[in-house]
């Protein structure tokens, strides 16, 4: 077990370095932060001074090396755009993104799994057909369009829910939460649906396909032959055995939800890390962009590790056979 974790962490290091290098190389194309920081009026001397202050006159690999050394110590410098420490900015924005992503994932699971079970059990009912058609919308409509449509319906026409922002938040230590206030909860609904819809349909279709497969297996037939109730067969035996791939997908998708919250956060002006990233791109704010990309990479690596460990716990074959056979 310990050796397993260590080997995984060692594998993660080159991944992180590669991400850092790629993102760093990319910044040559996002524009010149100096031009943006100087504004409309400046002298050549001010410009040269600023370039050397920021260390932008040094060779690429020197800049990269310094960046990696600082990043390893959690030091990302000051944002060019906001003149504030990058670590503070990300710490301020992370709770918003994490709350949104977790709520979206919870929503996707809470609705997607029952819908998948239902469509798996009653393949031909009209409700199943409706769910499947509906899931096509979730898969095919782009996120920003879903967000705008929800805003149009629930904010502009019906006036029920706020169209932007996070409502009132309460601070617990460094964590700010919108879950504890009424306006915060209301503000969460539309973005969470927008962000979770794709995952919801994905989970639904996945559970459905797995259910169909499991229901054909012999042990389900034996269970029925033993005279177990439908409920026990469906949930005690069938659903449980569909869960391994669902755990994998949900875990990996949680990373995707956090990373791709960018679009949802932009549409709803949700003050999370994704919005911070987009605004940083506009201003060529390299310290924030690199820190964000590294953080996302770190998160994917961690989630993958956790998912692997969960497999290890859920599937006894992995422990014995060393990975032979799959689900």
């Amino acid at each position: 077990m310990f050796a397993f974790i260590v080997s995984r962490v060692l594998q993660a290091l080159p991944v992180m370095l590669t991400v850092a290098l790629l993102s760093f190389a990319m910044f040559a194309y996002v524009g010149d932060p100096v031009a943006i920081m100087l504004g409309q009026d400046y002298t050549e001397a001010q410009r040269t001074q600023l370039i050397s202050d920021l260390g932008l006159d040094q060779p690429f690999f020197v800049q990269f090396f310094k960046f990696v050394v600082n990043a390893a110590q959690g030091e990302f410098g000051l944002s060019y755009r906001l003149s504030r420490p990058v670590a503070d900015l990300i710490a301020e924005r992370a709770p918003a993104t994490l709350e949104l992503a977790l709520c979206a994932a919870a929503l996707a699971l809470a609705i997607g799994v029952p819908m998948g079970v239902y469509t798996g059990l009653y393949r031909n009912s009209w409700l199943s057909r409706f769910f499947l058609t509906f899931s096509l919308i979730g898969v095919s409509l782009p996120t920003f369009l879903i967000g705008i449509l929800l805003i149009l319906t629930f904010s502009v026409w019906l006036g029920w829910l706020p169209s932007f922002g996070r409502g009132d938040t309460i601070r617990w230590g460094w964590w700010s939460t919108g879950l504890a206030t009424w306006s915060g909860l209301k503000a969460l609904i539309l973005p969470a649906i927008t962000l979770g819809l794709f995952q919801l349909t994905l989970i639904m279709r996945l559970v459905r396909a797995e259910m169909l497969e499991v229901l054909r297996t012999d042990y389900i037939k034996f269970a029925r032959a033993r005279g177990l109730t439908n409920r026990a067969v469906h949930f005690g035996h069938a659903l449980k055995n569909t869960l391994v791939p669902v755990i994998t997908i949900t875990g990996l998708q949680l990373g995707a939800i956090i990373a791709f919250a960018i679009v949802t956060e932009t549409v709803f002006q949700w003050p999370g890390m994704g919005l911070l990233f987009i605004q940083s791109v506009g201003a060529a704010d390299i310290p924030v962009m690199s820190a964000y990309l590294l953080l996302i990479a770190l998160m994917f690596v961690t989630i993958n590790l956790i998912v692997d460990l969960l497999y290890y716990a859920v599937d006894p074959r992995l422990r014995i056979g060393g990975g032979k056979g799959g689900h």
Binding site: Q46, L54, P85, F164, R166, L275, Q279, G282
Partner: protein, 536 residues
């Protein structure tokens, strides 16, 4: 199973229904204006960033020695009087009894400190004090500003220099504006202490900035401010155009500074929404590389067509500015033949004359210049800086193509665009220019003066246009006063018109959208003064 699902759906529906009407209730709250724009101020430091998004927040909280009316004309601010003692020494009499929001008295020491802070190398406000040698305290309420050279437009410039408290900045270790070398955040990035009409209550960058009326502000007693009644200002930036407009339509926002043009028709027809519009002090034009012997981005080899006046005129004649006004800008532009609008000191209608739209003449001029088959060129363009900037470029590319100049448009976001043109890595480009000091010199000096490395001269002249007669006139504008200065400006405008260093297009018009019970007077610099605003 079916029952569970129904229950879940019912729960969800109930959750949705409970928010009903909260938006309207908030709007009734004690004369609060909830205001939105696409971007937030990057900092609250009063001398760090000279850009519109910062000024629109700061000018609610900070005062200047000389300030502006809603129509941007000058009026006394923290200085009640000013006069020139000698050509290079101006004396300002300060208003008595003014206090900063945190209680400090406003005195001559604060003025000296503020001017010095604006003069600091890390200040972005150098252009407004470029002629200032130093500030001297005469007594507690009198200050002399000593100049390096006579400066006729000093009052215009000082209207942009915020007055700050010396003791407050010293206490918070913020004597100089933010230095990029610093590793730590400065106190002034998120805190403000001015003497202005509103005081800062709370600030969450990119999320929410709350300001409350400063009852002690001296200006409330002035006759044109007695109607102003805003108690609280809540600024919430919303980056997405569609969401910002949705917020206005749903009653969550009272005032939108930058509604997108394509939504205006809809907003006009919406009940309870009013759109006010006016000219902005920003002119959009096309500049050309008239310096290199061969253009970087063209298929003409061995010579630079843009050096030929006839080619510049041909490109000018080829542009149907009325079509751009009508379709691309939906009427929200004022076509012009010069490069700053009438509000700017030095403007004259006599020189604001366009070369007429005349494709036949354009083709003839191109043939005369030796390009009967036209030529190919790349037009560089930002796509998120000015109103419909990329669309303007595309329209122009089509118009130029019709006279034989095959134009490919390279449109980029502002960050890479400005980085590219500032390396002079460009042949023909679209640029917009605002004039915060409201004086012609600001435009001439930055855009058409020969680049010489001195503060401001030719710094935005990426086509490297150079004309000794123009340069001589610009030097006269810097020092002369009265009639002869005006004559110099008019003469320079004539050269600008005849020599076509740019192809001027239009002044931007800026619409503001607000709920119909909110009255904010339109300001041509796109920076609302809420001290003149009221809510019914």
């Amino acid at each position: 199973m079916r029952r569970t699902l129904l229950a879940a759906a019912a729960l969800l529906g109930a959750g949705l229904g409970l928010g009903l009407g909260a938006g309207e209730a908030e709007a009734q709250q004690n004369r609060t204006v909830r205001w939105s724009a696409a971007g937030d101020a990057n900092t609250l430091d009063p001398h760090s960033q000279n850009i519109g998004t910062v000024a629109m927040i700061l000018q609610q909280m900070y005062d200047t020695l000389i300030t502006r009316n809603a129509d941007l004309s000058l009026r006394p601010g923290l200085a009640t009087e000013w006069r020139t003692v000698e050509p290079t020494r101006w004396r300002f009499t300060l208003r008595q009894g003014v206090r900063f929001h945190e209680g400090e008295s406003f005195t001559a020491d604060d003025v000296v400190f503020s001017i010095n802070r604006a003069l600091a190398p890390t200040s972005n406000f150098g252009i407004f004090v470029d002629t200032v040698e130093r500030a001297e305290k005469v007594d507690d309420h009198t200050v002399d500003i000593v100049l390096k050279i006579a400066d006729p437009i000093l009052p215009n410039k000082l209207a942009s220099v915020y007055m700050v408290s010396r003791s407050w900045h010293e206490k918070h270790n913020a004597v100089r504006p933010q230095n990029t070398r610093a590793r730590e955040e400065m106190y002034t990035v998120r805190n403000a202490n001015g003497t202005g009409a509103f005081r800062l209550v709370s600030r969450e960058g990119d999320v929410r900035t709350v300001m409350r009326r400063n009852e002690d502000w001296y200006g409330w007693r002035e006759p044109d401010n007695t109607n102003a009644n805003i108690q609280e200002l809540v600024f919430r930036p919303i980056a997405s155009d569609a969401t910002r407009i949705a917020g206005l339509l749903s009653g969550e926002v009272d005032f939108v500074l930058d509604p997108p043009l394509q939504d205006l028709a809809r907003l006009r027809n919406a009940p309870n929404i009013r759109v006010v519009e006016g000219p902005e002090i920003r002119t959009i034009f096309i500049a050309m590389d008239t310096y290199r012997d061969e253009l970087l981005y063209s298929d003409v080899r061995g010579r630079n067509p843009m050096k030929d006046l006839r080619v510049r005129q041909a490109l000018y004649h080829a542009i149907d500015i009325q079509a751009i006004n009508r379709t691309t800008m939906r009427g929200f532009s004022v076509p012009t033949g010069t490069f700053f609008p009438p509000q700017v000191n030095g403007y004259t209608a006599a020189e604001d004359v366009r070369l007429p739209f005349d494709p036949a003449r354009a083709r003839a001029l191109l043939a005369e210049a030796g390009y009967p088959q036209g030529f190919g060129i790349t037009l560089d363009c930002p796509n998120n800086r000015y109103i419909n900037d990329e669309q303007i470029c595309q329209a122009i590319a089509a118009m130029w193509a019709r006279v034989g100049v095959r134009t490919s448009v390279r449109a980029q976001p502002l960050a890479p665009f400005f980085a590219q043109i500032q390396r002079d890595d460009v042949s023909v480009y679209l640029l917009g220019w605002g004039v915060p000091a409201l004086d012609a010199l600001y435009s001439f000096q930055s855009l058409v003066a020969t680049r010489n490395g001195a503060q401001g001269d030719g710094i935005w002249n990426y086509g490297r246009y150079s004309n000794p007669r123009m340069d001589a006139l610009i030097q006269r504008m810097k020092t002369e006063t009265g009639e002869s200065r005006t004559a110099a400006i008019h003469e320079a405008l004539r050269i600008y018109r005849e020599d076509v260093p740019h192809i001027p297009l239009h002044h931007q018009m800026i619409p503001w959208a607000m709920r119909s019970n909110v009255h904010v007077p339109h300001a041509a610099n796109n920076q609302p003064f809420f001290r003149f605003a009221r809510v019914d």
